[in-house]
Amino acid sequence: MPPLHPVDLVIVAVYLVAMIAVGALLAGRVKAYRDFFLAGRSLTTPILICTLVSSYYGLDALFGDSGDASREGVVVWFTYGRPYTLFLLAAALLLARRLRGIDALSLADLLGQRYGRSTQVAAAIASFLYALPVLAIMGLAAMGEVMFGVPLWMGACLGSAISVVYVAMGGVWADVLTDTVQFGIMCVSLAVALPYIMDAVGGFEGIHGALGDRAFAPLGGAPPLYTAAYALTAVSVFVEPLFYQRMLAARDTASIRNAFLWGILLWAAYDWATTAVGMAGGAMMTSGVLSPDTPRDQVLLRLVPLYLPVGLSGLFLGGCLAAAMSTVDSYFLIAAGNLVYDIYRPLARRDLDDRTLILYTRGAMLLSAAACILLSVYFERIKEAWAFMATILTSTLLVPTLASLLVPGRRAPLAGALATWGGLSAVVAFYAVLHVWGVPDPDLESRRMEVAGVTLLREYALFAAVPVSALGYLLGLALGRRP
């Protein structure tokens, strides 16, 4: 890969310094924990659009989707991506107005208010594991290696350190302000790069010539249950901690609904852009422009500098950094909030003042960063890590959250506790069994085992764990008492 031009390096350096400056400028403004964590509940529709879109979509969408598209084609946009559109639409229309009148700081806090402390802690553990931005850190490490030649661990540490610094200083205000810049850079840079790359590959005719009809099959060629398992991870939007944190920071419920509706359009456009660029990369691997051994998650990164002129390459690289850092900063804040506000505070002592809470949350961001880097070692592929984290979150929180917000009637603390702890335990057990007794599946890049003639893949954990959680909820409802 050619070395970066000095102009491109200057653009990247200016971007990084600007992010830290924003955090420093806002550090003195934050006094109360609600201001640090929820921006005084004042976020408007445009601000919510920026922060939701840029934070929810990181390098997993940029590198992961383009890497998958280079191999699997348009199935990534249709089958993996569009179920999210449906569930996001449902979330926008169903959830926003249900939050009216709820005074909570996070999803775990909300569940704690409904079901009690045990549920809050289980929810916070699942939310913490999910919120660790492993995917973005894996992407940052890959960027550091490909673009600057630094070792993977160093790229991961530097990227997360810069993100932690500015959010730890300025809290969610720094987060949303930087998200705005990052949102603009990540979207516009992709919009600029897309025509260049499509032109270079000869448009979709060129892609069809290289990849054939299979790349244009909306349902793809993987086993239906495997495809369904990925599509079903979309149900995680109902319990996405980022969405709840931002919704609870919104000015009003109309702002939330409108932000989601605009966000759906932006996410779909971003998805298509990464799918198209990824397919172009796949075609170039077939034709030999890119090495056939190129790691799929790095296809986009290796492709762009070949075709973009000086300056635009730097802009695109800044866009990649923006996509990663807007995710890393938001999720580190949420993970730290889970540790301090939802686990430590209820279990240890409840009388922490705002200053102490902010101080502890800043420290917890460092802990989260360390845990995140350790987890990124375990998973080899971005999509694989995403499936695990989305499964943990959904299996633990989906049943009690939807029951709490959508079903009127009594809420027994035991129901919440059994649903959350049951779902969490079921996922961990499923992954542990496949890890110990399963064998690698090189085609699907997963682990598999045969049970009574049925093939179990690691991705099927959701099918087992959500019913366990639902059974736990019903059992708790039958046995438990109203608070």
Partner: protein, 49 residues
């Protein structure tokens, strides 16, 4: 033009000009909020602002 080309140009239009319009609106709102102007009344409770 195929359906794939059409999707691509829609994506470019949304991610380019569309996003710039959103960014201008955000800059306006953030400028107002960070200067300390109180946000208009909303229906989520327990505001700290």
């Amino acid at each position: 033009m195929t359906v794939w080309d059409a999707l691509t140009w829609v994506a470019v239009a949304v991610l380019g000009p569309g996003v710039l319009v959103v960014c201008v609106a955000v800059a306006r709102d953030l400028w107002r909020l960070l200067r300390g102007a109180p946000p208009p009344p909303g229906d989520l409770t327990h505001r700290s602002g």
